[in-house]
Symmetry: D2
Subunit: 398 residues, 4 copies
């Protein structure tokens, strides 16, 4: 995109390097390379970031049970720092003083890209065409852009664009804008590309076993078919496949952007949704109750930081470290069933569980004296009884 | 249960009053009355608490999006204070100085019952047979109890008991103990009583419209059939019916009891699950982002208080008041589809929404200057660039 | 200040209205009026905001125990919305479409002024000369400004300016910049204007009784002298007098600005510091423990919001409401001694205290059974013993 | 104390081992040894725990800025796990199955001792005489105890006891009970033993330089006298000396016990108070703003855990680890003045500071563009302006 703005601004042909990140989206990377070369890029980098995206971004988000505003699994939010990190790595290496991106001026992505750039390459200058008045006044809609492209021989897709915008990566696809801007409009059934419509999905569940160590999946096994996946990228892709097949992970939400406005987004996150369910289960199984409470609140903060673009920040570094610590004993295996858009936990086991079957049993006493509970309750009631006595409030409540 | 312990303890026939609360469980209340009378109860109260359970307990929990440890919707936790409140109301009115309950000595329910009693009737004495050594040593299992009942002419169910225990009310049924105590064991398919197995549920969704005012549902409409429900109890029962029909709200979890042990529970909460989805949606649509953050953290605390038995406590009063305040503008209508165990939000509208279609639009500028975002980002980056510069850490990260 | 920037920008004489807020600073308001008139102000408003500053801003901050970053009592932060509110009230009434202020481009005050303006008068345009390049490039230092003033007949103080900047109001004086910018430099002894140097302050304490109702002071009495103050403004001024006399409330801190940089500030807040001590005391005496915890976390958030300029925001409205609710029973009287920079709580009493002398007594048993504590402790230990058993970690710790 | 209860319970002479921990209290340890031997202790351990108390308990509390309910520095709370740890170490080593302590049945200390014991030695049995009815009914007051002692030849102090109880260690002395139980009563002037009355303290301040590394003090220097201390124990003792000399760290509070009642306590914490001020200062100077917020909330939780007796718990381990991580860059030197009960920060410097004098300067622009602030403010106002527009609330507020 750099060429647009630069030509507009300087009216000269700037030198530029093109970067295309492969983070799992469905795209013709050869065509992208050719297009960049045709447009005059000095160098073209097509970078396969899929493995590092899974291990360095999706895994930490999973460990945190990162969910923004109770629903959004942050598929776009964690992709941005992954891409921008590579962008500034290349920029530094190649001696580029400017970087550019095509994110709009109203969204979160501009912030996520740029905060990553500033955090990792503080001296860098950023060119964001959609915030340059000369640019966005010149190109007021798709038609303007198409005309410009035709005139300057820039290859563009010939297929008519869907009446919404879309962002895809290994973790999810998000849909927004266009007809989706009216929050009352239903998403059209043909919108989803990663997940099958649950109405058309198989009538039989797939049962999986997901093995965790230190809070991240280390093996997935299809119980019936015996299929096994053991590397991060393979595990995640396989869960996307199973989740997609059963229509798992579709949500339609209104969310609060960092920039202060509410927006409507539709997301599909098949593999991520399966993993969130499984991780929540094994985590509660192996983690102390009070540690869990603190970790939960850290996870919520972490999600806000990520959403707002602060992946590379002192606070995210700190919280990531703390969450990582909390995952030391999050180990074991969860059995679950995937069916018609849902994930059902079936059972779990772990060598590090804090679950004590004998202690909790209704049939065995275990190392537990029920009489202790009387004292426990009465001491907990001291405060409540005082409150009642002193407020004389019991009558009112009854 | 009072008669058991009292006879054991005092070896006399105490005077007692029996209370059976109807909070929506499927039970033969006439038979219960007869049984109590037969056992010598001076008075028998069969109290229909369903409406107050919905309005005074389920609605506030819904406003709070109350979920314990990310998954449990607290169906049992909020029923206990509802029952115990009536129990102490009757005890006070009838001049009873003792109240009793049949909860076990390892669970949460004893705490929930008793803290409510102490909070509302501080002078009350509580008899909890399952914490009295003479009682629980005498009755070590089901067989002992059955023999005792037969010998003393206490009518008991003749159907063989399921190999797990169950607690039912209007909001949910919970299953635990017995064969479920091994957390690896799958729940048997015939366990669920409130929800249909999604594998056998209808192949077509039901689409509902749920209208909210001040954060609680005021009307539910079946879009296709036109069915309408407008009172709290009817709304909730209807959502249970629809949710049950489509197998919505089944979870299998390990949770942390207040008493310090982990336990495994299986829950089905059909109507409550539909409402949680709908409320989350309309709330985010109408509530300011920063208010939402604070309210979310209050809701998490509220859930812990409720789970631990502190419904009647200064802190719950306080948080309930705050959450209530937050719901003033939570108004509008959510369309959703219920299908095969899932709830899909389809769209929403509200006269009090903070969503501004023009402002957020990618196609219209609205009252927004994209250039402002540059300053916003750069100021947010000040701290990050300083951190980088002073730590000299960029290189390490790249 | 408006005239500076406008003349620079438009090279014309704009029409303008002048506002000077009296929030308790020591200033010649007549001279200010004359100066404004001389400079061509169409109207000049000298507004006495002292009473509303105390009641609507200082009191809510006190109820919240508002302290930013553990030390700063927010004296400037709460004055800004008070001033800006009146500014936009006048602007709306007089039909002004622009407002202006003289805050610098690196500070917090620009944000506090402007967010208040935007929140209460969304259509307003803001002129901030110190962020207008033509202005700040033209006036690079005090000399430039002095020359300009002389040339244009603008009256300016003839006394040489102290080598730091200062902001005063009823609640505090803050000092920063100049020689204070080096965080290692000690504050010069002659800097403080509101408080006496504790080395020179009286060698005898003053003992006061502060009476609270709903979390705000309603009466102050000097125990020895019998002096009584009963209106908000008089109470606060009297506490400033006593606090100032004894050198109370001086702090020297480095704080984090909203804009992302650390700055060094020196503050003196005599009356506010006395009140904070007294309020903390009566609050803990009358408020339930668990309510206090929640209220404390709300107070910390409130402080951050205020510091960052969000006094008029949905979140501040919400939190203020919650905190207000928490203060319903915060009533009673605190005796304290003020001496040599310190405030010592001596004792307290309240008709609404939750303190129960008999219950807590070491000499009387009260309505308390020590045996209950054994159960309480053992149940609290369940989780710890499990953790030890399962982690096998005891040995390592010992 | 074990002998009392055991004799009472078993009416036999049990074998027992005596432990006296030296955590800095002023006590005749030889006399204690003789007394224990005289009473029949098989072994007597007099353990000097002062160094580990400072390094393993006071230092982590300092890193956390641990303060309970905004005022109490937790001097007793952190001593209990230090003592109990050694107690169970010895019990394990010596094969003792029982441990005992003399804490009352209404206080926090019983919980702190016992939770530590259970956490580190889950199989241990605990004998708490003051919770054994036979014991506490037998000894209803001081006179009963004195008579018993005389009769059984147990040496007791002959000096008349002060009309309050007291607990002393290296960090603080606490006073409670007796005449202090009336929260309105002033503390008598002769109560304090660790700090001089500020009215009688020197009329000249002492100025110190405290050097920190990783959030703990590594050197203290008296600026004028040149005195230097560099080991943890020496540093802490020296600060106690200086703080005590100037009457620093006296508080009189009502606090909320874990057991659900409010109690009144008077504390003096001279060295700890100086360190808290210094640590807060150097921490804010060197720690990122957002990390600080998270760390502050962790510190508050940590304080509650410690107060409640959970020093040895999964949650405390976790939080301690997180806080430790946050202290990595908390390094540098603080100058402060100690005078008449107060600690005044004078200045600070650090090689790891995030303070940037040029960036923050009012006189130099630095790498900062004031225009960015306009965008920052306007974007922050988006949400507020929307709120105003949609609520139509501006008028009401004005």
């Amino acid at each position: 995109l750099m060429q647009f703005s630069q030509r507009l601004i300087n009216n000269i042909n700037p030198r530029f390097i093109a970067l295309k990140a492969n983070i799992g989206q469905d795209e013709d990377f050869d065509a992208a390379r050719k297009k960049a070369e045709k447009l005059g890029a000095e160098k073209v980098f097509i970078e396969d970031l899929r493995s590092e995206f899974v291990q360095e971004f999706i895994w930490p988000a999973l460990q945190a049970n990162a969910v923004y505003e109770d629903r959004y699994l942050l598929g776009t939010s964690i992709a941005r720092p992954c891409i921008a990190r590579r962008q500034v790595q290349i920029a530094r290496r190649e001696g580029a003083q400017y970087v550019s991106h095509g994110a709009t001026g109203k969204g979160n992505d501009q912030i996520r890209f740029e905060l990553t750039c500033y955090a990792l390459y503080p001296q860098v200058q950023i060119i964001a065409p959609w915030r340059i008045p000369e640019f966005y006044s010149r190109f007021r809609g798709r038609t303007d852009l198409m005309e410009y492209a035709e005139k300057h021989g820039i290859p563009v897709p010939v297929t008519p664009k869907a009446p919404w915008s879309m962002d895809a990566n290994l973790m999810h696809i998000s849909y927004e804008s266009g007809i989706l801007e009216n929050p009352k409009n239903h998403a059209p059934p043909d919108l989803y590309q990663m997940t099958k419509n649950p109405e058309d999905s198989p009538n039989e569940p797939d049962v999986l076993e997901i093995h965790f160590a230190k809070g991240v999946p280390v093996k997935v096994r299809h119980v019936k078919e015996g299929t096994c996946k053991e590397t991060p990228l393979e595990i995640f892709c396989y869960l996307n496949e199973i989740g997609g097949k059963h229509g798992v992970g579709r949500i339609d939400i209104v969310e609060n952007r960092f920039i202060g406005m509410k927006s409507r987004g539709i997301y599909e996150t098949p593999g991520g949704t399966i993993l969130l369910h499984a991780h929540l289960d094994i985590e509660t199984f192996t983690m102390d109750r009070e540690v869990r409470k603190i970790k939960q609140s850290l996870g919520i903060k972490f999600s806000e930081f990520i959403y707002n673009g602060f992946w590379y920040s002192p606070e995210c570094d700190f919280v990531r470290h703390c969450i990582d610590k909390s995952q030391e004993s999050v180990e074991g295996c969860v059995q679950l069933s995937v069916f018609k858009g849902q994930v059902y936990i079936l059972g779990r086991e772990s060598p590090k569980s804090l679950y004590n079957e004998e202690l909790v049993s209704m049939d065995v006493q275990g190392d537990y004296d029920p009489c202790d509970a009387s004292g426990f309750i009465r001491i907990n009631a001291v405060r409540l009884r005082e409150h009642n006595r002193l407020q004389g409030a019991a009558q009112k409540k009854l």
